[in-house]
Symmetry: C2
Subunit: 478 residues, 2 copies
């Protein structure tokens, strides 16, 4: 930014003007980027904006305790605790707010009582009073801090234990000095209850964000992400012409990148699923979720979905290898493999949509049966091929893909079983088709009842399945 001494007055002004212009342009660009990021954050989840206003509302409400004189005279300085309570316990989800609010309330109450007891004992000890109180603080702090390491406590009561240490120390420490401790404790408790109640009311009755519902949707979304990959993979890997490929594979290749990378987030979903399930535990019944909704079962289903995602990760490695010459064998197994892909994808989508609708999925899934039939076809194609040793090496990637697809179809079956268990535990409504499929199940030989909601009925392989109960039979390559 050194100013050239030969520059004339006019040139200097000109330069300054240019600098100012460039600077303002830069600021404007930065502002635009910032605004764009803010808008994106709000667009991605508009509940974030609503949440911000909810916090502000609750906070402004409890400030009234201070601003309105009659209330202030009643509560005194303790009113500040209502403000503090709102700021620290208001969380994004109802479950989070209840978790923190209830933990804080109970911990404050019990630790306050214990603290008063300690002060009462200490007041009879004369000179030893500070030593006794100091020892109590040391002991309880050490024990409580250690207790927080228990996994069960950490999951459900971590915040409560923290507030317990906090309140006990504050009461024990300030109690030895401040007179009228009972009155103060009473005021403090009342204001904390006011703050907590304000949070809970606003959180529950004003556009509530339920952790349980988020978990429910997350599990369904994760299944859809895997389904999108599977539906896209077939067409992408076997790179057949549009005419050769069945319709759906061609459609999927449009949003290729999005589809083929969407599953990656599923791999790391464990932490968020667990935290949502923990928070959902605190939530009262709401909408179609009862109080004792089987949130744990979602975690099990989520684990199976992640296992399936792992196999998909292994499968996706095959997308990047170029196959210059498509061997005869590669072409021969293409059709059954693509069938397995699209049918497991459809089965997952069917499960996801029945989960979203909270309907019991049909106990006889056409897609899973079609998938098994496709695996049988794949096996037949393998048996029919007569490789010599030279093209065995060429066949290896295709065989590996076939084997992985087979594992994936098994995973999909397991996911389906887990979703069925979930719908039993949660008493999901039966879908309309269940009635008829139950009747069909009584026989041991059953024709396939087409589930035509997903279109392309012409692609259906009509199979006769004997003994559906042993679901894994015929679904595995040797």
């Amino acid at each position: 930014m050194e100013i050239d001494s030969t520059t004339c007055e006019h040139g200097l002004m000109g330069r300054l003007f240019h600098w100012a212009k460039a600077l303002s342009g830069k600021i404007r660009t930065n502002m635009e980027v910032l605004i764009e990021r803010i808008m994106k954050l709000a667009r991605d989840d508009p509940r974030r904006v609503v949440h911000s206003f909810k916090v502000a509302l609750a906070l402004t409400f409890v400030s009234l305790i201070y601003y309105v004189r009659p209330l202030y005279d009643g509560f005194g300085v303790a009113g500040i605790w209502a403000v503090l309570t709102v700021v620290v316990i208001f969380e994004f989800t109802v479950g989070g707010t209840l978790y923190k609010g209830l933990n804080r309330g109970i911990a404050t109450f019990s630790a306050g009582g214990l603290g008063l007891g300690a002060i009462y004992i200490a007041s009879h000890l004369g000179e030893a009073e500070p030593v006794f109180l100091g020892f109590m603080v040391f002991l309880l702090a050490a024990v409580s801090t250690f207790i927080r390491f228990f996994p069960h406590i950490k999951r459900r009561y971590d915040y409560g234990v923290l507030i317990f240490i906090l309140t006990f120390s504050m009461v024990a420490v300030s109690g030895s000095r401040v007179e009228k401790i009972i009155e103060l404790a009473n005021q403090r408790l009342v204001t904390i209850i006011i703050g907590g109640a304000a949070c809970m009311v606003v959180s529950i009755f004003l556009c509530p964000v339920w952790a349980g519902e988020d978990l429910h949707k997350l599990v369904a979304l994760n299944m859809e992400k895997l389904a999108n990959f599977l539906e896209g993979f077939g067409g992408e890997y076997f790179k057949l012409d549009e005419e050769e490929s069945s319709g759906e594979a061609g459609v999927c290749s449009k949003d290729k990148l999005l589809f083929l990378n969407g599953y990656k987030s599923v791999l790391n979903s464990k932490a968020s699923e667990e935290s949502l399930a923990n928070l959902a535990w605190w939530e009262p019944g709401h909408g179609r979720f009862r109080f004792s909704h089987p949130w744990k079962q979602y975690l099990e289903t989520g684990g199976l979905i992640r296992q399936c995602a792992c196999h998909i990760e292994a499968l996706s490695g095959h997308l990047n290898t170029d196959i210059e010459v498509q061997s005869e064998f590669h072409k021969r197994i293409a059709e059954p493999c693509m069938k397995v892909c699209s049918e497991s994808g459809k089965a997952l989508k069917e499960l996801a949509s029945s989960l979203r609708a909270m309907k019991r999925p049909s106990s006889f899934s056409a897609h899973i049966q079609n998938c098994k039939a496709a695996i049988a076809d794949l096996r037949a194609a393998l048996e029919a091929s007569s490789p010599d040793s030279a093209n065995l090496v060429e066949m290896i990637p295709s065989i590996a893909v076939g084997s992985l697809l087979c594992d994936i179809s098994k995973c999909v079956e397991k996911i389906s079983e887990s979703i069925h268990e979930l719908s039993d535990k949660a008493n999901f409504e039966s879908a309309k088709s269940t009635q008829s499929s139950h009747i069909i199940h009584r026989g041991s030989v059953k024709p396939l009842t087409g589930d035509t909601r997903h279109g392309n009925d012409d692609n259906y392989v009509h199979v006769v399945v004997i003994n559906v109960n042993s679901t894994s039979s015929g679904a595995s390559l040797p």
Copy 2:
């Protein structure tokens, strides 16, 4: 527990005695279980016990401010903030304590200043004072709450923003009533600094737990877990007799279960790695870690390790399938497959141990070269086999395992590259052998310099590798 009316006095006493005995036995069992769990928690990580005492110590220390009268007269009721500060900011790791302490300090200071400014303006507004202050609280609470959703802010400054809202609201709300606000703010700030300083000093100088070191060890441990699986898998899958299998596979089958399931925790390590890396960012240089240690690179390496774990998850599915008849082909590929397993396992262990020792791993790993040679052998075994169509079906699982092992060996190479990048960025010391291998690299044809630290040199395949730079050449099945 209904008492039978025909029971005589003696019988009743006898029953009561038995009940009491049973009850005391139950209580004793429960206590024993509890004590066992506490002992396990402490044994698993003795730093937990130390941490509990550290918190208690810091808390008792700041309580002194209250108990010692001269100090109390100086600080007044504000001393309670020192206690509060210690309880909420003392975290398990140094990074966590610094993160919370610095965030709290800076947020309290800036929000306090802003709050005082707001009060000053409000005091000139007369009647509109509470309206103005209420509006300011509403506005700042809404904006700050929204800001917490930015991923970058959430990672580094979440707690600071929370304390900012808290402090501003408290100052703005109480400031409109309490006189001598500046003096109070001053006292409060001093006590918070005392509390924060006590935490930081105890946290850093008394048995410190460094988040960065934990991250460093976690990454090394995860590699070792994968290595254990790989070393155990070969012997387990190919179920060869002790005589046939190479020594190390036989040794590994001892702690089979532990080894073969250890990798599962690696799959879900992302959340803990990220949180440790975020906390490590706050830590000053310590021991062999400088202030600007490349923590981000650990996350990248961790991602590659998880990718490898995913392939291993797919591989582990093959352990559960029973192979009744071991085909000729299965036996033929057993040796190269087991070689790939054990060599990639050893390569990972070598990388882990060099990471632990913070040494630059030798840029020419014998194990990775052996692994490539084994894959070439596997390929040769495939080419030599002449399957007819019947046993092609039998061969599929073995081929799938071979293909997965090949993917895994590629993953191991990527991990190795990432660890090399890490040692460059972190300026790890060179290991002694590097010097010689650098010299060897100048030629284009290099004999293998045996790294015999891991024993069984007799098993080494001596290969001649041409053009080491294109590391992936020859490492992949077609």
